[in-house]
Structures are given as C-alpha cells and as structure tokens.
C-alpha cells in the first residue's frame, strides 16, 4: 500500500484530485444508469456490469479521496508540530543562555564576596590585639580540627556506602 501512495505522490495533486472526482462522478452516473437501464429493453442485459463498474468506481474513488484527505490532514499536523518543535528549541536555547548567564554572574559575585571576606580576616581580624593573643596562645585543638575535617568529608562516607 505504501508503494501505491508513493507512486501517487509523483502525480501532481491537482491532476490526482481531478482524476478522483471524475471517477466518483462516473461511478455515481453508472450507478444511476444501472437503475435506469431496466426501462430500456435493448440494454437491460448490461445492468449488472454497469452496476458493478459503478460500485467499484464509486467505492474506489471515495477510498482514494479519503486517503488523500487524511494525507493532507497529517501533512498539516506534521507541519504544525514541526513549527512548534522549532519554536520550542529556540525558546529552550534562549532560556539556556539566560540561565547560564545568571549562574555565572551569581557564582562570580559569591566568589568575590568569599575572597573579600578572607581578605578582611587577613587585613582586619588578624590585626586585632585580642585576636593576636588568641593566635599566639590558643591554637585550635586537634580534636576540633579533626571534627571539622570529618564533617567536610561526609559525602565521601556516603559515596562509600553506595
């Protein structure tokens, strides 16, 4: 069936439509004629072939017209969806750039703030007499350092348990 449709696609649409409608009209005329022939004694013997040809032509052309309409409907849907997908991809790219810029800006500000804070510790806090006394006389006990370091590596323990 696909091959038939592929072959039909090679014929221009206007020619195809013309063919379908001509076949449909011919089919309907033949069906009507098959009823009328009984009043004409000379040709009444041809009733069955005319009726048969009428049915085949009408049904065949209706089938092909239906197929054509469905094909057109699907093509429209595909076109519509392709346009929507294209628009979505553009929006997605735009948003990605927006998010990337936002994250980079925020990260830069955070890094700068952190740096400033550390510089403040070096420049001001370490010059404080009270603090100097602490630095010289009270080093941080090893237990506290170990507890801090263990907390800093909590994720490693979680990774080990996977």
């Amino acid at each position: 069936m696909t091959q038939i449709y592929w072959m039909l696609e090679l014929i221009p649409e206007s020619v195809l439509l013309w063919l379908y409608y001509t076949a449909l009209t011919a089919g309907i005329i033949m069906l009507a004629a098959s009823w009328l022939v009984k009043w004409f004694p000379g040709i009444s013997n041809y009733k069955l072939p005319i009726q048969l040809a009428g049915v085949v032509l009408t049904a065949g052309s209706l089938y092909l017209l239906g197929g054509y309409s469905t094909e057109v409907m699907w093509r429209d849907k595909v076109k519509d969806l392709e346009a929507k997908v294209k628009l979505a991809e553009e929006q997605s790219t735009e948003k990605n750039v927006e998010i990337q810029e936002k994250i980079v800006t925020k990260t830069t500000v955070i890094k700068e703030k952190g740096k400033t804070q550390i510089e403040y510790v070096d420049r001001v806090i370490t010059q404080d007499k009270e603090v100097i006394k602490y630095i010289e006389q009270c080093p941080v006990p090893k237990a506290i350092i170990d507890a801090h370091n263990a907390a800093a590596e909590m994720n490693k323990a979680a990774e080990g348990k996977k």
């Binding site: 048969l52 049915v55 085949v56 049904a59 209706l62 089938y63 239906g66 469905t70 699907w74 849907k77 595909v78 969806l81 392709e82 929507k84 997908v85 979505a88 991809e89 929006q91 997605s92 948003k95 990605n96 750039v97 998010i99 990337q100 936002k102 994250i103 980079v104 925020k106 990260t107 955070i110 890094k111 703030k113 952190g114 804070q117 550390i118 510790v121 070096d122 806090i125 370490t126 603090v131 602490y134 630095i135 009270c138 080093p139 941080v140 090893k142 506290i144 350092i145 801090h148 370091n149 800093a152 590596e153 994720n155």
Partner: protein, 88 residues
C-alpha cells in the same frame, strides 16, 4: 457482489498513524553540568583560629556556589518542562 462489498469495506477501514515528529531532549548549560567542588579541610596540627575561620569562609563560598547550581537545575527543569508541554 457480497464478497466485493466486504472487500471494499475492509479497504475503507481507516488506519491511525502517529505524527513522526519528536522534540529533541534539550541540552543543559555546561555551567550546571560541572561538579561541585569538595569542601576544604584544615591542614596541620597547630592551626590558628583565623586560619580555621578562613577555611570555614572558603567552604561557605563553595556551598553557595553549589546551591546556585542546584537552583539553576531547578529553574532549567521547570522552564524546559513548560516549553516541552507547549509542544502538543
């Protein structure tokens, strides 16, 4: 005639075809894909309180950098979901 009618009816049965168009899975920004840095440890046995404070500040900085990325992922997901749902 009866068989012909059945044959034609069979031919007239409609087929359903899915539309062969699928949206591509969106690529996340590179900055979101970078891993968060490991927190810094305090080195040495005799450490001044100010040195410890500097490590703590550094770790806070790392935390906020990482939380910014998480917020970025959340925003990325919500935005992409909205965009994906608009394609129907």
């Amino acid at each position: 005639m009866k068989y012909l009618a059945i044959f034609l009816t069979t031919l007239l049965v409609a087929c359903s075809t899915p539309v062969p168009v699928k949206p591509k899975f969106p690529e996340a920004p590179q900055v979101l894909k970078d891993k968060c840095e490991q927190l810094r440890k305090i080195e040495g046995d005799r450490v001044a309180i100010t040195e410890m404070l500097k490590v703590v500040i550094h770790n806070y900085t790392l935390y906020y950098e990482c939380s910014t990325k998480v917020e970025g992922w959340q925003e990325w997901y919500n935005t992409q979901k909205k965009i994906y749902e608009s394609v129907k």
